[in-house]
Amino acid sequence: MDAMRKERRSTTYVLSLLFSSVALLFLVSMLALLVAQSVPVWQQEGVGYLTGLRWFFRTHEFGAMPMIYGTLVVSGLAVLFAAPLGIGTAIFISEAVPPRMSAAIKVIIELLAGIPSVVYGLLGVLYLRTWVYDSLTPFDPISGDTLLTGGILLAVMILPTIITLTEDGLREVIGTQRAAARGLGLNRAETIVAVVLPQARTAIVAAVLLALGRALGETTAVFLVIGRQDNQWPANLFSVRPVIEAGQTITSKLGGSEVTIAYGDPMHWAAIVGLGLFLFGMSLLATVTAIRFGQRRDRDA
């Protein structure tokens, strides 16, 4: 009996070691491939590849800045819209409703997370574009395809991530702490603001960062509502106007037809792969920071 258990454990051990090293191998070889294939564009453009404002593949000009800008604006808007709503929902689920109801709400939210992004994209094309276009009429937008449309759509898509992870963090706050706060005479709202939220702070930041990581990499839905206009660079970085103009994100460029054209032209291909590398780096940064925050929470606790 004992021997069998031992044997089983060792098989499990070997298998998990095998599969995790396969995962690691994938990650490392993917990174190596992206770096190797993007070498020509770094050689030609240098840092200008990231800071350049002009992307014209027929004349081999590759400046990715407008796409980086588009990606950051769209993801930033998404987090701006989704974070307050998501954190509020999480507080509601974990603190305000009876357990059975909160379980039901959680199931619905997790269903929301399972909807394929192309469905969100099509809903965006059908309804959100039109709604944004009509609502913005006083500002004379060029069409319903704007960075704002992409941001709103992404906000809906990352909501489940923020809600679920924040809610987990709130639940980890120990019940005796809540009881103690109530015992000191704090009412429910005061308990949440003064005791629960501060203790769950790192979990909430981690939730938002993981959601940001997802927003950065989302392709299909953004592709359909962003307008895919190259070289959109605002005259004034802090003006709001570009938000209601069409734009391009790194993912919408990578999802477009330029990829099939780039194939067979080493420089153009390198420029496309370089975008992938940069995107990979950005999501990695967001995810790793989120995990680091999560670890700090464990240490604090």
Partner: protein, 280 residues
Amino acid sequence: MKFLIALVSMSLVWVACEGATLKINGSTTVNLPAAEAAELLRAQRKLDIQIDTNGGSSGGISALGDGLVQIAMISKELTDADRAKYPKVHFRTAKIGEDAVALIVSKDVWDGGVRSLSKQQLKDVYEGRVKNWVELGGPKQRIVFFNKEPGRGTWEVFAHWLYGDSKKAPQRSFPEVGGNEETRNKVRSTRGAMSQLSASWADGVTVFALAIKTDSGEEIAPTAANILNRKYPMSRPLYLVTDGEPTAESKIFVDFVLSPRGQALVSKHGYLTLEQLGNH
């Protein structure tokens, strides 16, 4: 262990199925009759056909070049540049019909009185010198130009006509559109919108095809008659492309589209059939 064996045998079955699947990719224009032909062949000949429109004509060519599909659908001429990209592939084209590229506008522009554009006017719009429909005899409304993505057959035909060679077209950054459905949808839902689109997709209800005004002032609309007699300049061939002579499932498919029943589908979607083209 049993699990592993099951996994391996499942993947083998999967690979075996893959082998018998006829895969097709390319132009959304050619896709209309091709998808319907595929539907009929699936039902009648029990063929396993998978048909996609990723990346339009250039997407079809690259998928065929990489051996991912057996048939590419393209709605432009196959160029030397396309062939040069895949030197090992023996591209064989089978022409299945013809279509025209129309310049389409939204309802407000059409109702505002814009019915035709000259080549020069079109260049002015494309190069950004003309920005409002007023300057073209239309309503006071900003021109919103949705450009077909690079690599789309529609864009290639448009640029080739306007600038003699698509490589000579100036570099412009417009909001871009991909497939025909997306193009029509975005032009329909935007005031002052204009784009390039397969003429048979311009329904005349939500989006409207402009005529081309010649130097002598004649307005030539993209009608079947004008495409047939070559008066309308932006006509284009529709092809099914294979690597070498089509064999097995590919041959069944190509032969079907070329048969009277397949040609009826080409005609049904508003394209010109080989018979129409041959009789002229």
